[in-house]
């Protein structure tokens, strides 16, 4: 009887039951038919430390073609999120051609810092929805080992006169300490959160939960002492440190002593190299081509806020996105909220009243790493894998963005 009643209620106020409208399946939905990522390797010391960005993108795009079995000629555009490499647009275009895409497949890059991977996904999805293209690949890739993330020059003095503009020069660690200070997120709360992240990643890795997300990547590593170059195949994330506890994290010295004493190397996101990719097209097209429909892209949105406390971004972006679809946190099954720092992760989780069981179930950037441009897409890949594992449907991804922004994305897993 309650089902009949809610059916009639939906006839009367169709907009109010957000879940049923986002989970409905329509032929022009934008859907994801492939979601894969490389292993995440430790920056400067890990398996990708000597890998070039174009090689990383080339390897992942080759896997996209291989795993999806799509005819590469049908892919019309590739958008890659990347933050540090100013020449990334050249590299992505060349890498795509080398990976097997014909010259009729276009390529571009996008940079909105930590959200670049999600912004790339939104770019391709919007093009499909408006009829500009039919099929596209969105990816994010970052070689933090190659450096390039610091601002080389200060802003112009006239620009610096604006306090918030000047605040954009603050290093991320400083903004984390600002959040910890302004919102009373103690060192202990941050370490406890971080320990949980490590423990979850350890559990997920041991149980093999990441196996359907990760594609092995062959690359070369140079031994720093001998100079010998060795061929390796990376298959596992290198971030998780097994046996991490609250006690072991408490011993670590603050990483940004000029700005505060709460954020450490143990409760901040790791510097990491890696990439992740999704293949998108309209549902009707996926059915025509026989592509498996993994998930539906529902939407994404962006917000801006004070640069000095950029970490609280998700606490503003998430409510904005949910209100556009008449949803609440209760309607969401799996949440991937980027752990740039434990300070903002704890703040956002508590402010939005997110049950910790729903959030970063496989650990987050503190344990796995945060390859800046890749994270936005990486969260989609991991989040959908977790939805499949739990047989759940609604995925929300979100991240804070340096210079004071927040982005969030909404997806529906259809592989139950």
């Amino acid at each position: 009887m309650t089902e009949r009643l809610s059916s009639i209620l939906k006839h009367l106020t169709p907009g109010s039951s957000g879940l049923s409208s986002i989970t409905s399946k329509n032929a022009d939905d934008v859907v994801i038919t492939l979601a894969i990522r490389t292993p995440l390797a430790r920056g400067f010391k890990g398996g990708f430390k000597d890998t070039q960005l174009d090689y990383l993108v080339y390897s992942l795009l080759s896997k996209v073609i291989e795993k999806s079995r799509i005819d590469p000629q049908m892919v019309e555009d590739i958008c890659c999120g990347n933050v540090n490499d100013g020449k990334a647009a050249y590299l992505v275009r060349a890498a795509a051609l080398a990976a097997g895409f014909p010259n009729t497949t276009a390529a571009s890059t996008v940079n909105r810092f930590c959200s670049s991977g999600l912004k790339a996904t939104q770019d391709i999805a919007n093009q499909i929805a408006s009829g500009s293209i039919d099929i596209g690949v969105a990816l994010g890739a970052e070689m933090m080992s190659a450096g390039g993330d610091r601002l080389a020059n200060a802003f112009h003095p006239d620009v610096l006169k604006n306090q918030e503009a000047a605040d954009c020069m603050q290093p991320m660690g400083q903004t984390s300490e600002n959040v910890g200070h302004d919102f009373n997120i103690s060192r202990e709360m941050q370490d406890r959160y971080a320990a949980e992240s490590f423990q979850r990643a350890e559990r997920a890795q041991k149980a093999g939960w990441f196996d359907d997300e990760i594609v092995p990547i062959a690359t070369e590593v140079k031994d720093p002492k001998t100079g010998e170059v060795k061929k390796v195949v990376l298959t596992k994330d290198e971030g998780p440190r097994y046996g991490t506890t609250f006690e072991s994290l408490s011993k670590i010295r603050p990483a940004f002593p000029d700005f505060g004493d709460k954020s450490t190397g143990g409760n901040s996101s790791q510097v990491t190299d890696g990439a992740a990719a999704v293949l998108l097209m309209r549902r009707s097209r996926a059915m025509e081509l026989g592509q498996p429909i993994l998930a539906k892209y529902v939407g994404a949105t962006i917000t801006g806020l004070a640069p000095r406390i950029m970490g609280i971004g998700p606490s503003i972006a998430i409510p904005k996105l949910l209100s556009k679809f008449n949803l609440s946190i209760d309607d969401i099954d799996v949440i991937e909220l980027n752990e740039a720092f434990a300070s903002m992760a704890v703040y956002c989780k508590d402010t939005l009243k997110i049950p910790h069981e729903k959030m970063n179930i496989r650990g987050g950037a503190i344990a796995l790493g945060h390859p800046l441009g890749a994270t936005g897409t990486r969260q989609i890949v991991t989040g959908l894998s977790e939805c499949r594992r739990q047989k759940k449907k609604i995925l929300l991804t979100s991240m804070c963005i340096g210079t004071g922004q927040g982005m969030a994305g909404l997806f529906v897993n259809e592989q139950l």
């Binding site: 009949r4 169709p14 022009d28």
Partner: protein, 350 residues
């Protein structure tokens, strides 16, 4: 004329195709949410509407369809997934029952040309085809979405149509081979096709999001015209041959979802609708004098000819009388009333 189906809220009404003065109503207790159903057979007499017989059913009745080959028989689609065949010569119980759907049966319809089969559609995402002589369904057509309404085309014994919760009009042709597409020949998105780049591309043209389609009907004179309506309150007419640019006409005006529509058997452009806004409205889709800008693919606007707002609850069923004066019709609603009225009387007011 009025009859109160006390204790039961009406869901469907139909005039008998054989006897001018016979009319049947399918109804349900507690607004069809829980409880029994009841099927009424009425006579329209000089003394008003007289109930001749009624039958109780275990669960709500959501739709009825008179047999086209036997004047005494009628099928009812029920909330428990059953389709029941009643004969007025046999009291109390149906003479036959098919229990094949897994969820509520929202629509039943008889084959209007060969008259020997009927269909039912259900929340379980299927349409089933039956013969009154066979104990199992002959065929199941999948729609994968709650199917609120199904009909045979009045122009062909082999064409079956449906509208569903996923905002699509499906047309099936049983003469096609049953390959992977299960006889599906047209899949028309009621809310409009996805935008295509090209000369007619206009991203700013108002587009409607998909919404549940609750009802549809075939035009009785123009054999490729189908009207659909549902939760977004707009009644749309489609030409099933030319649907690439969307609906041919929009009939807008209802304030809430439209639950039932019926094209007139007497006029090729006239249509009757029943809505949750408690009104029945008579419309013309103005196809005799279409107001179309050459080259534009926007749907033309139909006109509301009249409105009957005597009902005091959601109106759920309408049907035109086939014989006699060409405006008589009947409506049933959740206000427990069957009303028989002349559409022409409300049209003069506009």
């Amino acid at each position: 004329m009025e009859y109160r189906t006390t204790g039961f809220n009406g869901y469907a009404v139909q005039y008998s195709p054989f006897v001018n003065s016979s009319i049947a109503v399918g109804a349900a207790a507690n607004f069809g949410l829980v409880g029994n159903g009841r099927l009424y057979f009425f006579d329209l007499t000089a003394q008003g509407i007289v109930a001749q017989k009624w039958y109780n059913t275990q669960d709500a009745i959501y739709d009825i369809a008179y047999s086209e080959q036997n004047a005494n028989q009628l099928i009812a689609g029920c909330g428990d997934g059953t389709v029941k065949l009643f004969d007025t010569k046999v009291p109390d119980y149906p003479i036959m029952e098919w229990k094949e759907h897994n969820r509520e049966v929202y629509a039943v319809a008889w084959n209007l040309v060969s008259k020997d089969t009927f269909v039912s559609s259900s929340w379980d995402g299927t349409i089933k085809l039956y013969s009154p002589e066979r104990p199992q369904a002959l065929l199941t057509l999948p729609t994968h979405s709650c199917t609120y309404s199904t009909h045979f085309s009045p122009h062909s014994p082999s064409i079956i149509s449906s509208v569903t919760s996923d905002s699509h009009l499906r047309v099936f042709d049983l003469r096609t081979p049953a390959s992977a597409s299960n006889h599906l020949v047209h899949l028309i998105p009621i809310h409009g096709h996805a935008p295509q780049q090209g000369p007619s591309y206009n991203p700013l043209r108002p587009r409607h999001p998909p919404s549940e389609a609750l009802t549809h009907d075939w035009n009785k004179y123009r054999d490729t015209t189908v009207a659909t309506a549902g939760v977004d309150t707009i009644i749309r007419t489609f030409d099933i041959r030319h649907h690439k640019h969307g609906a041919t006409a929009h009939l807008e005006g209802h304030k809430y979802a439209v639950r039932r529509i019926a094209w007139s058997p007497h006029a090729p452009d006239m249509l009757l609708s029943a809505s949750y806004d408690m009104t029945c409205r008579v419309w013309s889709d103005r196809m005799a004098t279409p107001n179309i800008t050459p080259g534009s693919h926007a749907p033309s606007q139909g006109a509301e000819l009249g409105r009957m707002d005597v009902h005091t609850e959601f109106v759920t069923g309408v049907d035109w009388c086939l014989f006699g004066g060409q405006g008589w019709c009947a409506s049933t609603a959740w206000d427990e009333r069957l009303l028989v009225w002349d559409a022409r009387s409300v049209m003069n007011q506009r």
